[in-house]
Amino acid sequence: MLEVADIHAAYGRVKTLFGVSLSAKPGEITCLLGRNGAGKTTTMRAIMGLLPVSQGSVSLDGTPLHTLPAHMIPRQRIGYIPQGRQLFAELTVAENIEIGLMTCGEGPDTRDWVLDIFPRLRERLRQRAETLSGGEQQMLATARALCLRPRVLLLDEPTEGLQPSMIEEIRQVVLRMKAEGLIVLLVEQRMDAILSMADQVVFLENGQSRENMFGAALRADPEILTRRLGV
């Protein structure tokens, strides 16, 4: 289980998280919800060690993560797909995947597993990442995170700016990872996606977690989203 307990974090001197807590379980999708600036991306960055946690703790199955240097956190098999994909534009698809495989010592089996999930990437292995379409780039970013054979997958707005067919493809991958028992933490703006996928929802407001809710409760009363987020 991924446990985030009352974390506080800051960008330099500017404090941005003032107490975020959540528990995410294997085989479940936990959605972080909140208005712009509520601290969703910052929470993910803090979990990944990209932002120092000044108070509180982050742990995975009892192992503290907040005390580890940032580069050691992915080695605990935590994959992060940031907003904007952040590919290595000059490298080919194959090289991007190779870079993903190397840190955890994964080999051809994992490579094939990833390429089976995204067969379109198999056709473009020698193409530079910068020449891929937006949807393909998202696939590559996701594939690269899956190269770690993650236990936890953090996705920050994975469907942003994608066409409907591509959104569905990404959605299916997220559901497949859930079915394979991964802990999935998702930031998503599309309400239909949240309603259809979330097992648990954590509402963030001004850098604090305000309320946790089961996905089923949200589906029973979707108006909650309007009341809480004004959407």
Binding site: P69, H71, R75, Y80, P82, Q86, R128, L148
Partner: protein, 312 residues
């Protein structure tokens, strides 16, 4: 390394080998000097072109190699090979220490810190004038510049020694940048934060890249002293930190052959324009501005982007 890359590199080495027998003596002499400068630029390219570390202090590593060899041969009476080995160790140690401190900064901070280290090296060379003879420099005895029966002060000996070192450096760097290590350096250059998010110890990898880069630059400095028989403080000056940057920018950062192309271009640009006017740096400057405007990725970088995406 792919077969195409290896074939290209071996072809360039073969052309340089044949050039000695075809070119007039003046140009083959120039080419020997260019090859040594290209080794320096190849070392610089590993830090800047592949890892994204814009250093303004590589003259320190070049000078560490140059003095490492020059002083041990001239003052210690060492033979060429052990002196060369010591020069490599000297530049490796200097690069290691500079790396530990300078890599605490990034961007402009890194540029300034490396520049300051190089200036400190330059001033040190001037301070110990009784050994280095400062700006005036010192000449290494012609008799000592030999490896076994090979006289490195002769035209042919110098040329083929430079070619040998150039070939080794090119093949090693070609293999290095195609290996997982090289791909990781490119990943760091492209997106440092993302490389960290994938579990790479970016700081350690940047340090290794800088140490390898500095050692190759030191090898170039040692080769320069050995083949041309001279070591002087001017090689530790800021100008010699700027030169490899220019070579790499002109030839194409992050390309294996860009440093050679850039060095040839710059060398002959200055050589030819100085034959026309005393204000030759003005002509060189205008040409450089035009090239940067119209070929922002350098000569080979542009070629790779527009026509030959496989170019290493």
């Amino acid at each position: 390394m792919s077969h195409r890359d290896t074939f290209l590199h071996l072809s360039v080495i073969a052309v340089l080998f044949a050039a000695f027998f075809v070119l007039p003596a003046y140009h083959s002499g120039s080419l020997a000097r260019i090859m040594v400068l290209a080794i320096y630029a190849m070392g610089y390219n590993l830090a800047f072109g592949y890892t994204g570390l814009l250093s303004l202090g590589h003259a320190l590593f070049f000078a560490a190699g140059m003095y490492g060899l020059g002083l041990t041969m001239q003052l210690g009476g060492w033979a060429a090979i052990p002196a060369f080995a010591l020069a490599l160790v000297a530049s490796l140690v200097v690069a290691g220490v500079v790396g530990v401190l300078a890599l605490r900064t990034r961007g402009v901070g890194f540029m300034i810190v490396t520049l300051m280290f190089a200036q400190a090296g330059y001033l040190t060379a001037l301070y110990f004038v009784q050994y280095t003879r400062g700006d005036e420099g010192f000449v290494i005895d012609q008799a000592a510049r030999a490896i076994g029966p090979a006289d490195l002060s002769s035209e042919a000996g110098r040329y083929f020694a430079a070619l040998f070192l150039f070939a080794v450096t090119l093949l090693v760097i070609g293999a290095l940048v195609r290996a997982p290590f090289g791909r990781t350096l490119i990943a760091i250059r492209e997106n440092e934060a993302r490389a960290t998010m994938l579990g790479y110890d970016v700081q350690r990898l940047k340090w290794i890249a800088l140490v390898v880069s500095g050692t190759i630059s030191g090898a170039a400095g040692a080769a320069y002293a050995l083949l041309f028989g001279y070591a002087g403080a001017s090689f530790a000056g800021v100008q010699y930190s700027i030169f490899p940057l220019l070579y790499v920018l002109l030839g194409g950062a992050g390309t294996t052959l860009g440093p050679l192309i850039g060095a040839i271009f710059m060398f002959y640009l200055i050589d030819l324009s100085s034959g026309i006017t005393n204000a030759y740096m003005l002509i060189a400057g205008v040409v450089l501005v035009l090239l940067t405007m119209f070929l922002p990725h350098g000569i080979l970088g542009t070629l790779r982007k527009r026509a030959l995406p496989w170019l290493p």
